[in-house]
Subunit: 282 residues, 2 copies
């Protein structure tokens, strides 16, 4: 994984450096370089590799996805949203650059992700398919809808079904999109199965976040633990407890692995992603 | 103009109504319907008409541009930016729906504009050209950069050159994009001239804004007059006075008209836009 993540990090830096100097650009680069694990872009490229295809021509697609993910974190952290001071152990974008620049930096990442895809030398039809997949996953029928649901349901008693819906939109859509982007590039006929794998992995990932917010420490997590409780957010652990939540995580990852084996690919590369996430402590 | 604007308004409403029900969608629709003059989308369609082409297939492109314009207003009005309570005589989006939903509504409009273009039945190459033009104009080498410059230069003594630069990016880029989108659809070889017309009209338009902020009344303008002064913003009128500013407006519109006559088109339709803007009082 490390080599690919290094390539993604290097490319993100180069992409940003190609823009004219500005404070917004600095803020975008700051948040992009604030220690993200690059799970989503890694998935895109790893799926391509699982089809024995060369991933190097598609690094910019993976970077565009990471830009969208980073924009969502910047805006989520704003005083008008979750009002967080720390993200991955560092001051959040608005703490470092001021609120106005942080709003614009988020806008900038959401805006430029599409330009990065357009500037690749891929065929126009493929570009359109990739942009459509990404911006539907991130839009108001996807991640943004999830963010809205999340806000609307603070301080409310939730059912597991409702919580699943919030997680599906807020986290699952974009994480599943990573699998789908890889599929659109390497094997369009498998996109449906890859999408389903992505939803299972995405939900497991989010339940893990709920668990880590309870059992981890702030140093490992890079942000205060117990923030869900202090934000009066209902989570998997408040609804069914840590142990049952972990069982749900295990079940989802196992279901995802079963789907992986239904595809004619180099399974080990996708299993590597799942195991990496399964074992994560932050 | 009225018929076309009605068609744009109707189509914007239909586009939004096609999305699933959510508070973000309501907020997006609220801001889209808060009485904008639709100058930018009207320009796109009027340029197409000036080449004797049918504009009906391209209404969604015009709508996408208006969505981007509206997102920029929603985010500009936020407490973390200009902190405005009124826009076009109505409560701003965050006053009406709360800050979190307003942030997301802006994000939603920026995000969905590209999906609207993608969903049209135009050729992929044309879609790519239109998306590229729009998102470069709105991005960190365009409008967002202008918004950042605007913030950075509050309370600072400015030269006319610096002010022109701010106006060029903050207003000119997107207004010129309207002319360019029409050109890309109807006559790609004329895009360079149309772009130049757009920059001249855009700068004239912004200087008019500076003038109206001094000489108009808040009822006509739909927002408090004198807001530039109270925000400690240097403008054309503070730098060279109302009369010299108006002369600059007249000069720019005349130069734009000269460029219009250099093109082999139905000139009257573009002159109609310019005269409409020249005479505007709000």
């Amino acid at each position: 994984m490390n080599n690919i993540v290094n390539e993604i990090n290097q490319r993100l830096k180069t992409i940003l450096n190609d823009y004219p100097k500005s404070k917004v650009k600095e803020a975008m680069l700051y948040s992009l370089q604030a220690g993200g694990k690059r799970i989503r872009p890694f998935i895109v490229l790893q799926v391509i590799r699982a089809y024995n295809q060369n991933y190097h021509d598609y690094i910019d697609i993976a970077c565009a996805l990471e830009m969208i993910h980073t924009y969502s974190l910047i805006h989520d952290d704003l005083p008008g949203m979750d009002n967080d001071d720390l993200r991955r152990g560092k001051p959040t974008c608005h703490k470092q650059f001021g609120e106005a620049t942080a709003i614009l930096a988020g806008d900038g990442l959401l805006n430029e992700a599409v330009n990065i895809i357009i500037k690749t030398s891929l065929a126009s039809d493929l570009k359109i398919a990739l942009i459509s997949c990404l911006y539907q996953a991130s839009g108001i029928s996807g991640m943004i809808y999830g963010q809205e649901l999340d806000i609307e349901n603070e301080n409310k008693k939730l059912s597991i079904d409702k919580l699943n819906t919030i997680h599906h939109y807020k986290t699952g859509k974009l994480l599943s999109c990573a699998f789908q982007l890889g599929g659109l590039i390497a094997s369009p006929q498998d996109v449906k199965v890859l999408k389903e794998i992505g939803y299972k992995v995405g939900l497991a990932f989010q339940i893990q976040d709920d668990i880590l917010d309870v059992i981890s420490d702030s140093k490992t997590l890079g942000k205060p633990v117990g923030s869900d409780a202090s934000n009066h957010k209902e989570t998997y652990t408040t609804l069914i407890g840590v142990e049952a939540s972990q069982k749900e995580v295990d079940k989802l990852f196992k279901e995802a692995i079963k789907l992986v084996y239904s595809l004619s690919i180099n399974h080990g590369l996708i299993i590597e992603i799942i195991e990496l996430l399964w074992k994560r402590v932050s």
